[in-house]
């Protein structure tokens, strides 16, 4: 399966990948546990934000890595049990505004939640 940003049912596919396979994708991906702690931060995501994956892993995504997402538009959405939603947003590469499309993913059966990031 060659997953793209908008592939339906991508959540199940993501759950079954080896971590290094995330780096093969064409879009940014942040894998977190349900507390928002970063489990995997892929290369593409690092290129969009300028944040080193090694720095990101183990930290709380919504407060320590991307406080810009800590509002009702993004972080609050993850309080839902099931989530698959796309929206346009603004990231910063360090402090340079970067227009992105986000896909927020979460399911009741998984111990993880994901954020897919596509740079316009």
């Amino acid at each position: 399966m060659n997953a793209t940003f908008s592939t339906p049912e991508i959540l199940g596919w993501l759950e079954n990948q080896e971590p290094n396979q995330y780096d093969e994708l064409s879009f940014g991906i942040v894998k977190m546990n349900t507390d928002g702690q970063v489990v995997f931060y892929n290369k593409q995501e690092s290129q969009i934000t300028g944040i080193d994956p090694a720095y990101a892993v183990g930290k709380l995504f919504f407060t320590q890595i991307a406080p810009c997402t800590n509002n009702f538009m993004v972080s609050e959405k993850y309080k839902q049990i099931e989530l698959d939603e796309e929206l346009d947003y603004l990231f910063t590469h360090i402090t340079t505004p970067t227009r992105v499309r986000l896909r927020l993913l979460k399911s009741a059966s998984s111990q993880h939640q994901y954020m897919l990031v596509h740079k316009y």
Binding site: C68, F72, M73, T92, T95, T96, R99
Partner: protein
């Protein structure tokens, strides 16, 4: 450790700026976004979304949310300087069809000919807290002025009542020197010298004159007695008003008086000193045994004195009603680790055990002229000091003891 290069130091600073929990934005003179930190995105994205803006121009957003702010920026002529210095703005928008009011503060600087910086934050919670505090302070001020006004009115009424009372007392004293005694004296004089009047004006006229003088004297006496009685009743009413005023004034005081550490021994001594003349007059012996090193308690000195004055007054009135030879009030104090106990014992009429609680009911009185608020009030005062007040008696005619306890300060 290797010294950091300037590049590394800058990276670190930029990272700190990025993470700083205040919105920071840099735009050009047309409002196009050049740089912004994470908090800036967090705060502005919902607003961009609300007004369906691309999120690349801050002026577009200001046009929608605060056109006045945009105008100030555009009218700023100098090459650089502060446009807005830490000012609060109300921003209204909708989230899920719900009207939301948020307060943002903005500091806006023109850095150079083509750079504007925005520093801002959402201070709604702070703003609301400030409002609550302001309201609470206003409420307190209103309450305070109400109490001050009430206190002033009570004070004025109190003064008027005292003046009225002393005026009535003067009338009463005048009545004691009424002319009926002089008229009786005159009658006595006529009676004695009857034989000298009779030859002059005749026996019938002398008797008529004497009868007239006697009738006037008796009438005067009757009037004086009636007036006396009315005045006594008036005095009773005035005393009642005074008692109510004292209670109301204490209530008002209670709202402003701070609790200080007070010495029970000196309170008791001061109270006794005040009431001593009347005790001596009634032939009541006073025995006080309060250890000099008794612990201090927290309270309001004036109110505490009112309690002791009231209790001693009650005891002396009770002793007066009990026709015993032994007229004595004794006050003892003792203490343990955290409580001071004071016992005030009298040789008065006492009461039946079953009546003990009845005594503290508002309006209960055993006295002819009592209002029934003395003991009720005493207990309220003591309880407001986290203390207790009880009355015990072995029975009717066997004296009574008031037991007070206070927590040690």
């Amino acid at each position: 450790m290797e010294k950091e290069t300037i590049e590394q130091q800058l990276q670190k600073i930029i990272f700190i700026i990025h993470q700083i929990p205040i919105g920071l934005v840099e735009t050009d003179l047309q409002g196009t976004l050049k740089q912004m930190n994470a908090k800036g995105v967090q705060l502005l994205m919902p607003l961009f979304l609300q007004f369906q803006l691309s999120g690349s121009n801050v002026f577009e957003l200001l046009e929608k949310i605060r056109p006045d702010l945009l105008k100030q920026i555009q009218q700023f002529q100098s090459e650089s300087g502060t446009i807005i210095q830490q000012e609060n703005y109300l921003i209204e928008f909708n989230i899920n069809q719900q009207q939301v009011n948020r307060f943002f503060y903005f500091t806006i600087n023109k850095i150079n000919a083509d750079t504007i910086s925005f520093v801002f934050d959402d201070i709604t919670e702070l703003h609301e807290k400030e409002n609550l505090i302001r309201e609470a302070m206003q409420e307190k001020a209103v309450e305070q002025s109400k109490f001050e006004m009430a206190s002033g009115v009570l004070h004025d009424i109190g003064n008027a009542v005292v003046g009225f009372g002393s005026y009535i007392n003067r009338i009463k004293n005048h009545l004691n020197y009424s002319d009926h005694k002089n008229l009786l004296g005159l009658w006595g004089f006529l009676e004695k010298n009857k034989q000298h009047f009779e030859p002059g004006i005749g026996s019938a006229k002398t008797i008529a004159m004497m009868d007239l003088v006697e009738a006037i004297a008796k009438n005067q006496e009757k009037n004086a007695m009636e007036a006396n009685q009315i005045i006594s009743e008036q005095m009773g009413i005035i005393n009642h008003i005074s008692e109510i005023l004292v209670i109301q004034r204490q209530y008002i005081k209670g709202h402003s008086v701070e609790r200080e550490s007070i010495n029970i021994r000196s309170i008791v001594n001061d109270s006794i000193a005040m009431i001593m003349p009347s005790l001596v007059k009634k032939g009541i012996e006073m025995v006080v045994d309060i250890p000099i090193n008794i612990s201090q308690v927290k309270g309001d000195k004036t109110r505490m004195m009112q309690v002791f004055l009231n209790l001693i007054k009650n005891a002396s009135e009770s002793i007066e009603s009990n026709e015993l030879f032994d007229k004595k009030i004794s006050i003892y104090a003792s203490q343990n680790t955290d409580i001071v106990e004071i016992k005030l014992n009298d040789t008065g009429i006492g009461f039946e055990k079953s009546d003990a609680e009845q005594l503290f009911k508002r309006g209960y009185t055993s006295k002819e002229s009592g209002s029934g608020i003395g003991l009720y009030n005493c207990r309220s005062i003591i309880e407001s000091h986290q203390g207790t007040l009880e009355l015990v008696s072995e029975g009717s005619g066997k004296g009574a003891t008031a037991i007070l306890t206070f927590k040690i300060a």
